[in-house]
């Protein structure tokens, strides 16, 4: 019988870890998550069911350590040359079970990228924060970017620079004093132990030197979080408000320094797009598995559903879409793994192409999911089949990171050299 492993991947790109990551992730998904995920929606606030799944994935298996250098207890993925394809494979397997978990899991690495990945490893901060992630409980980190006014403008670096950032960082002696209000970060709502906070050292300035990416441990006095928001899906991904009220951290908690924080922050965007691609790929492959079984067991015109030409047409479009999205995911992963060939991960070209692939994949997936739901009839919106779950989750992936319009503008700016968008 066909399995999701029959979907195409560029085999020459795969990391030596690929099989290992895949098998562990697959087993974890099949045994610990998929059997109970149907009740995650109601678990959105307290994570009674969800937390143990994170525990085994991140702490017991230990994936939360993977980005740190080996000598600090990590697995050294940050300098492996396979961060992209390795992450893609793992994220696919996690998202196959639950995209919400994949987002929360993926985002824990987001701020760490600023300090754990060559060529901009910040050894001192790695040493500072590594121990936290070696603990035997699930540990999360979060990027505090979005703000009440302007929203995704923070991610809209090209056009506004840091000029709309309201969260301020003032250097007092050898400490940063941070004040501001952030919204929506994944792993807020009490989940994260560590925040990467996007601040300005000079409010209103567009100068990249004035954008600061500063680490703030969640327990730092003055840092408070609200309760999680209720959403259409992705219960495993908690989002909330974070307030910084005269929060003080050492001056060396700034990730890379003036100019470089703004520069490498774009790499965070590229990795966010790779993550989104892998989430879509993994979720869609799971829907394909469900469809394969559903259309074999359910009958129409006295035949198995899949043996009806009209049904098969929809099934073909779906399978083709999954295959194409998966190819794109690994191509982009490879582009991030081989800056020598494709350019820096933070270059405008790589960022723009990541945006283009991400919003294409999300749009395509949402459209195809709508069609299979219509094909399945009442079962399509029935939670017992989990297809509608992936539909709600992927819809959220489509909308996050600033939404489609922001992606379109970045793509147009790069491909057509627009100057005033």
């Amino acid at each position: 019988m066909r399995t999701i492993d029959d979907f195409t991947r560029p085999l020459e790109y795969l990391s030596p870890l690929d099989r290992y990551l895949g098998e562990i992730g697959r087993k974890w998904a099949d045994t610990e998550v998929i059997p109970i995920r149907r009740d995650f929606d109601e678990d959105w606030e307290h994570h009674k069911l969800i937390e143990p799944c994170f525990r085994s994935l991140q702490a017991e298996i230990g994936f939360q350590r993977m980005l740190f250098p080996e000598d600090l207890g990590g697995w050294g993925l940050g300098h492996s040359g396979y961060m992209g394809t390795g992450a893609a494979r793992l994220f696919e397997e996690v998202a196959r079970a639950d995209s919400g978990m994949a987002v929360a899991f993926g985002v824990l690495f987001w701020p760490l990228v600023m300090i754990c990945v060559e060529p901009h490893v910040n050894r001192r901060l790695c040493e500072e924060f590594a121990p936290m992630f070696m603990e035997s409980r699930p540990v999360f980190a979060a990027n505090a970017m979005t703000e009440p006014q302007g929203g995704a403008d923070i991610e809209n670096m090209e056009i506004v620079g840091g000029s709309t950032i309201q969260t301020t960082a003032v250097l007092e002696g050898d400490e940063w004093v941070i004040n501001g209000h952030k919204l929506w970060p994944t792993n807020s709502g009490g989940v994260a132990d560590l925040f990467g906070v996007v601040c300005t050292t000079n409010p209103g300035s567009k100068d990249p030197d004035d954008l600061a990416f500063i680490f703030v441990p969640a327990k730092t006095p003055g840092c408070t979080q609200g309760g999680p928001y209720e959403k259409a899906g992705m219960a495993a991904d908690k989002n909330s408000d974070i307030w910084f009220d005269n929060v003080r951290v050492p001056s060396w908690f700034r990730a890379c320094g003036p100019g470089l924080d703004a520069l490498y922050f774009k790499e965070v965007v590229s990795l966010g797009n790779l993550g989104s691609l892998a989430f879509v790929s993994g979720a869609m492959m799971n829907v394909w598995e469900i469809l394969r079984d559903f259309t074999s067991e359910t009958t129409f015109r006295g035949k198995p559903l899949k043996e009806n030409d009209d049904v098969a047409g929809v099934l073909a479009n779906f399978a083709g879409g999954v295959d194409i999205i998966r190819v794109l995911t690994y191509q982009y992963a490879r582009m991030l793994d081989r800056p020598d060939l494709y350019g820096d991960r933070w270059s405008e070209e790589i960022v723009a192409k990541g945006r283009a692939y991400k919003y294409f994949a999300c749009d395509k997936a949402v459209e195809d999911l709508k069609k299979v739901m219509n094909l399945m009839g009442a079962h399509g919106s029935d939670r017992a089949h989990d297809v509608e779950k992936h539909w709600r989750d992927i819809k959220i992936v489509q909308l996050w990171m600033g939404g489609k319009q922001l992606c379109q503008m970045e793509v147009a700016r790069w491909f057509y050299e627009c100057e005033t968008l």
Partner: protein
């Protein structure tokens, strides 16, 4: 400008009584649902059930289409098509789930009180359920995909949920587990489409309390909080001869034509609230750090234009269908091929456009689009559920092709 004026339909088809009803319902929507949402979210006991009581009993929609002499609202002529469309649009604007429950009641009451095939006895038997002063939810139970390949009579390739065998003066209904269109766990009566033995379809009214009716455990679905649904099994359920409310394919198609119209109105109504939500978002949001009002951004506007176009078209298609169903003297019987397929087509198009318009609206609202706080995502989940429940796309397409291109076999 009001939504109705922004997206005009042939108002010549609306009577003053329709307009005043629209006012009544929109007042109910505001007072009983929209204003209480932040507190109760989608809570059934806390929000939806009380709102339904007001709507179905106090305002009287539950018996609206039954004849006055039986204690109904007396809107029991085909004109009811336009009236109920206008009403349903407002009900769904408040809660698409409640709208969907009413669509089911409407289809059943059409069969009982309006259909040219109606007969007096079933109507007299059933009326008290609706006029008795208690809330009486009902649901159609329609043909669906099957689970085996045995040769048997099917409805456009779908299995009948049950068979009905004539025994003496009555019928014995057996079948299931079947999935009702809505509220399998809370319905008082089911309108079950059965194979009458020789493959002739019929619809029988089966009281939920009848001996042999087994309701499964309520199951989870993506939307329609107002519909507490569960699969239902009919184990040799005995019902009187009067339970047979319709017989034959054309009579069934007529009921379905009205049902599709009602469901199209539910989708159209959800768009009314979508417009309200997007308008507020577009007016108040500022982007690009340039103090640019969201809606004035050309890219946002281009999408808003598309969204609005779909809202207008959805209304037009729904009202045109309602008009055609309201005048059988001009457009022929509701069960005739051309009108029935017009109904399927209208529902499919409206459902699709409604989803597109909501999807695009969510895209414009980004995270606010999927946060429950903004109330958009509930309509998005509801309408998608309606779209999947009412008719599988494969069947809709086959019926349309059959009529439009004169198919003989499918």
């Amino acid at each position: 400008m009001r939504y109705q004026e922004l997206f005009p339909v042939p108002i010549e088809w609306l009577q003053d009584s329709d307009r005043s009803m629209v006012e009544t319902i929109s007042l109910w929507a505001e007072q009983e649902v929209k204003s209480k949402r932040l507190e109760h979210k989608e809570d059934y006991e806390g929000l939806l059930l009380p709102a339904m009581r007001k709507l179905f009993l106090d305002i009287g929609l539950q018996s609206m289409m039954l004849p006055e002499e039986l204690g109904g609202g007396g809107i029991d002529s085909p004109d009811a098509a336009v009236t109920t469309t206008a009403v349903l649009e407002q009900v769904a604007a408040a809660d698409s789930g409640i709208g969907f429950l009413f669509a089911n009641a409407l289809a059943l009451q059409y069969a009982l009180a309006i259909s040219p095939n109606k007969s007096a006895e079933p109507l007299k038997e059933a009326a008290p359920v609706f006029t008795g002063g208690d809330i009486a939810l009902c649901s159609l139970v329609l043909p669906a995909y099957g689970s085996d390949t045995k040769e048997r009579p099917r409805y456009y390739g779908l299995d009948y949920p049950a068979t009905a065998v004539k025994t003496g003066a009555g019928w014995v209904v057996s079948g299931g587990p079947a999935r009702p269109q809505c509220c399998g766990a809370t319905a008082s009566i089911f309108g079950v489409v059965c194979d009458l033995g020789d493959g002739t379809p019929g619809m029988l009214i089966v009281p939920a309390g009848a001996k042999g009716v087994k309701k499964g455990k309520p199951f989870k679905k993506t939307g329609l909080a107002a519909s507490v649904n569960a699969d239902v099994t009919f184990k040799d359920v005995k019902v009187p001869g009067s339970a047979l409310v319709l017989e034959g394919i054309e009579a069934l198609r007529a009921v379905l034509s009205w049902y599709y119209m009602a469901c199209a109105a539910v989708c159209a109504g959800s768009l009314q609230t979508t417009h309200e939500i997007l308008q507020e978002w577009g007016d108040t949001r500022v982007i690009k750090g340039k103090g640019q009002v969201f809606k004035e951004n050309p890219l946002v506007a281009s999408l808003m234009g598309e969204i609005g176009g779909k809202m207008g078209t959805s209304r037009l298609l729904t009202y045109n269908l309602a008009r055609m169903l309201s005048r059988p003297d001009v457009y022929g019987p509701a069960g005739a091929g051309s009108l029935h397929v017009s109904a399927i087509s209208a529902f499919k198009q409206v459902g699709r456009m409604a989803m597109e318009a909501m999807d695009n609206t969510m895209e414009l609202m980004a995270s606010a689009g999927y946060a429950t706080e903004w109330n958009l995502e509930r309509y998005w989940r509801d309408v998608k559920t309606v779209e999947t429940y009412v008719v599988p796309e494969t069947v809709a397409q086959t019926c349309m092709a059959r009529q439009y291109f004169n198919l003989k076999q499918l």
